[in-house]
Symmetry: C2
Subunit: 261 residues, 2 copies
């Protein structure tokens, strides 16, 4: 079966059974995928407040009570086992990658699911706006900017952005389209001169791959969910669990459920 | 000076000096007014989560760290003294109304400022859509519905709505206009038959005043910030401070700052 046509519950079942270990991009077309952050209850108020204060990089899709691993946005799912790959951080340092986190999940663990840009990339493609990373089969280019996020308690980091090159008129159309998707990063945060947001070299992204920028194109920048990972992996937090890049949680929400208009 | 033309900082100064004790509706035209809820840190995560889970009735404008009373959205303001009237609740019971709350505000008090419908009422009037409560010089009609909010820890209550009567074509225009204001309750939650949301008698609102519904009009219902007060005044919380109805906090945000489009 074409992964694009899988239903979320079926993909989650395959992942839980160890039959799917690769990234989730391209799977379950039209269904919302999410970033995962899990951390101890003592830090949950300040991390939730960090997300509330920075809604563009950290749009909240679901937050679970301490010790709960079955999310509201996916029937019968288990956040401890339904993602293909996880990362375990201790005091801000990545310790290992694992395929399930039952041993790391405790009674006081609070789980956050945050929007990701896969939803609006499909909407851009449907509208004929180029998505270069998809065209070239690469990871999207990501950059750490010089713009600080609003901090909250121990959580404090610069804004991370993704970049997609397009013509100015495509940039205008892309702004309209992504405005609708305010829960998956919404409208761009910048376009044009990358140095204005502290990016020195477009061909050398901090995460992901570089992509081709054509002669008549400008770079267009969106807030990126990796910001939440940068914030969560603060040195002060004893244990943080996140998804591994590209290995997202696939929910039962449809992309259109997240639109404002 | 016409109260409509006052600047927020000036009105807050008058309130703090005891020179303004009446409701704030109609004051500082074009500036965002907010609902206030203050409660102990131990309940802050669950109350913040309640607001996140119920964004239409409880749109978050600002949340302050424990013990902080100077909000991010109003320069030099003091939330303990810059509202004309407050209510003090103990274990869910209203104990008194006071003009400042310095004696009730502690190191562990967390303050929440939530959007209110004054912002979109002005936008409706500017577009020629009738706002009957303003026309008739009354408080807006508010009703407790049969729709439960998503609960969070000790916070659990039905959705409260406001009602404004208008013609069907005005209701369509009002839906477009208020969609832009997603941080001040956004689009309506219901229109037409009130019994569908558990309202038996439009002429007998649970809060506020009844208004005239003309022959060719239908009732249009918006989520209401009073929902947050109903939730916050849970029997389990030893001390909760709120604004008194109509006596809001006036911020330095402009109404247009809160629009999505």
């Amino acid at each position: 079966m074409d992964p694009e046509n899988l239903l979320p519950a079926d993909l989650r079942q395959m992942i839980r059974a160890g039959q799917w270990q690769q990234p989730t991009s391209g799977a379950c077309a039209g269904w919302v995928q999410a970033n995962l952050v899990m951390l101890p209850k003592d830090y949950a108020f300040h991390f939730l407040l960090f997300c509330v204060r920075n809604p563009k990089p950290c749009p909240i899709l679901d937050v679970l009570e301490p010790g709960v691993f079955s999310p509201n946005i996916a029937s019968g799912a288990d956040l401890r086992a339904d993602l293909p790959k996880y990362r375990i951080y201790e005091y801000g340092e990545m310790k290992k990658e694992v395929s399930e986190v039952r041993d790391f999940f405790h009674d006081d663990t609070v789980s956050f699911l945050l929007g990701c840009s896969f939803s609006f990339e499909r909407a851009l493609l449907n509208a004929g706006v180029p998505v270069r990373n998809v065209e070239e089969g690469k990871n999207v280019s990501m950059y750490i900017t010089n713009r600080p996020c609003a901090s909250s308690g121990p959580f404090s980091c610069p804004l991370v952005v993704t970049m997609r090159p397009m013509t100015p008129s495509e940039a205008i159309r892309a702004t309209q389209i992504t405005t609708r998707f305010h829960l998956t990063h919404g409208a761009p945060v910048h376009l044009g001169d990358p140095t204005k947001i502290g990016i020195k070299d477009l061909s050398n992204p901090d995460f992901g791959d570089p992509v081709t920028v054509k002669k008549d194109e400008i770079p267009v920048f969106w807030a990126c969910g990796v910001t939440s990972i940068l914030a969560a992996t603060s040195k002060q937090i004893p244990l943080v669990i996140t998804h591994s890049p590209g290995h997202m949680f696939v929910s039962d929400l449809r992309d259109e459920d997240l639109t404002i208009l």
